[in-house]
């Protein structure tokens, strides 16, 4: 089922609310009007009773009708009946040709009844025994409500007409307000339509929209900013890949083409093949490193959770790098111990990359110090080497993919493909950790913090 639009909903809501409120008010007014009329009627009737009573006291049975006729002729619309216990009906107005049901006459003072389709209000009065002249009298007066009914009829009619009109008007108002209120959303939707991969810099208009929608616009803008950043990273990554792949492929292609232009010795062919094999191995390594990095960064390489003894890992890595370090006349030393939860293989890889980097940049006859600390329930590994410092303007980008400290120099084979530190960073982040670097005074320290 299609959802009802906000405009329709608001219109209906406005119309419905105003109809309910106005109808309620109208009913309330008519009720109180009715009550007001009734109390006026009854007090007028009671006055008449008093008048009749007074008149009856001063009269005899013979003079009473004449006296009452004169007294009551100023009040049109009244009907009255005076009954004496001894003599029956002593007086009755002209139209009084009906009999009251006994129950009403005996039990109630004020009452209503319907006679010949005509509604009446009435009051009955029984004079106390021992009245002079006429003895016990029952006085009954009544008043037709016809005039009130006419009034109430026209009142109700006007009320309904008004409510109907007001409802339609309020509905229209609601429709207009909703359209006006939703205008900024339409503007945002138009803006959103212009956002594409190549136009990710477009933002929602925050200033020109109402406060409530500004929040939404801010949220959307933040989302767009994140997307833009991710998109930028992705396209940077693609162009990096293209660039990095181009070099080894060009090497292989040139070499192979040059070789093919002439006949050469077997020895020569073998050389070319071996060199190609080396280039291709680098390519394969680069591809697998990039995949690994992409997966780790995007949370597809979920680290397993086991106890990792950091000192044991450092020890194993020292054994691995031992020969290389001796070759460079660099000593390796480690202090401290700590256990963390994490993925052993990933953590070993992360530390390995930093150690390899430290060894590459260490000056001969220095020492690479690895320090394992525990601080605020966090495990920290500091890896410090003595060597050329990283220039301040490069510190920020040292964890970028394919970062090279010297762009012009071709990388020696040992240096891998320039993804090592990026992979380390991704692994640390996958472990809710962090990595940082400081470099001055010939000392470069990488700090790995496991959260």
């Amino acid at each position: 089922m299609r959802k009802v639009s906000i405009t329709t909903r608001l219109t209906l809501l406005f119309a419905g609310t105003s109809a309910t409120v106005l109808l309620g008010l109208g009913i309330l007014i008519s009720k109180s009007l009715d009550a007001h009329f009734a109390s006026e009627d009854y007090s007028a009737l009671e006055e008449r009773i008093e008048l009749i009573q007074k008149t009856s006291i001063e009269s005899t049975a013979e003079t009473l009708p004449v006296k009452l006729e004169t007294a009551l002729k100023n009040y049109p619309g009244f009907i009255a009946q005076v009954t004496s216990r001894d003599r029956g009906i002593v007086y009755a107005t002209e139209k009084f040709d009906f009999v009251l049901p006994n129950t009403i006459a005996k039990t109630t003072k004020r009452f209503e009844w319907t006679e010949n389709g005509q509604k009446y209000r009435g009051v009955v009065y029984r004079s106390p025994p021992g009245s002079r002249n006429l003895g016990d009298l029952t006085i009954l007066v009544g008043l037709s409500t016809l005039i009130h009914e006419h009034f109430m009829g026209s009142f109700t009619y006007t009320l309904f007409a008004f409510v109907l009109g007001a409802t339609v008007l309020c509905g229209l108002l609601g429709w207009w307000a909703a359209r006006r209120g939703l205008e900024p959303l339409r503007a945002m939707s138009n803006r959103a339509n212009t956002v594409t991969g190549s136009h990710l810099h477009e933002r929602m208009p925050v200033e020109s929209v109402p406060v409530e929608i500004a929040d939404l616009a801010h949220t959307l803008n933040a989302m767009l900013a994140r997307l833009q950043l991710d998109f930028q990273r992705l396209s940077d990554f693609s162009s990096d890949i293209a660039h990095e792949l181009r070099t080894p492929i060009t090497n292989m292609m040139t070499q192979t083409h040059v070789t093919l232009t002439q006949r050469r010795s077997n020895e020569n062919y073998r050389d070319i093949m071996a060199s190609n094999a080396e280039e291709m191995q680098r390519l394969a390594r680069m591809i697998s490193d990039m995949l690994y990095l992409a997966k780790t960064e995007n949370g597809l390489n979920l680290p397993s959770s086991e106890d990792v003894f950091l000192d044991k890992e450092i020890e194993a890595l020292f054994e691995f790098y031992d020969a290389l370090a001796e070759d460079k006349i660099v000593t390796l030393s480690a202090t401290g111990a700590s256990v963390i939860r994490g993925d052993k293989l990933m953590i070993r890889r992360a530390i390995s990359n930093v150690l390899s980097n430290a060894l590459r940049h260490a000056h001969p006859q220095t020492c690479i110090r690895v320090q394992i600390l525990e601080e605020n329930s966090k495990s920290i590994i500091n890896i410090t080497n003595t060597g050329d410092v990283i220039p301040a303007n490069q510190i920020a980008s040292i964890f970028d993919r394919f970062f090279r400290s010297d762009k012009s120099r071709t990388r020696p084979d040992s240096e891998g493909v320039g993804l090592g530190l990026s992979i380390t960073k991704a692994i640390m982040i996958a472990h809710n950790g962090a990595i940082g670097v400081t470099s001055d005074n010939d000392k470069t320290t990488f700090t790995l913090v496991f959260g």
Binding site: E267, A274, A284, A323, D327, R348, S352, D413, S414, G416
Partner: protein, 230 residues
Amino acid sequence: MKLLVVEDEVKTGEYLRQGLAEAGFVVDLATNGLDGHHLAMTEAYDLIILDVMLPDVDGWRILETLRKSDMSVPVLFLTARDSVADRVKGLELGADDYLVKPFAFAELLARVRTLLRRGSQAVAPDRVQVGDLILDLSRRRASRAGRRITLTSKEFALLELLVRRRGEVLPRSLIASQVWDMNFDSDTNVIDVAVRRLRAKIDDQFETKLIQTVRGMGYVIDEPEIDAPA
């Protein structure tokens, strides 16, 4: 030793066949899943190399039928997609090992030999020997031409690996993983330095060099043949 290679990429398949044949194996090549399936079920092989991405009957199906019919021939599968799910699936279906494309041929060869050796491995010998180099595995001592050579434990482990697999070219990644337990692409330079230091102790003072570098592939230990290039 008879191997079956199921690989739909013709060029790759041909090179695999050539390489394995030159390494001394008898190789059948199937270039589609249907043939591969038929051959695997009817012929007796010592090992099957299976590409899992085949256009018709995929590698998983072949592996499944094999295991269902109780054929325990070792299977090494090749996959281009390096996803954990793929690897787990293969191993759960009963594969014995896997390689992710692109792989080094030396690596494939080493794995094939390991799988073939598995099970048939007799009691480990106490002594292994290449030429006049003798390794006493129980006492972890090495000597050449009667002269004792002092090695660190990792140097001995490296030498042992090479000697146990004499004649096989071992890629650097395999050496790093077997000797140092570095099961990821690590600094290959480390292996070169380690081998160089080992050479200094094993080969430098002798006329015949046992440890040889195969450029672009890795290292091998063997007695040099007369016509082999240095």
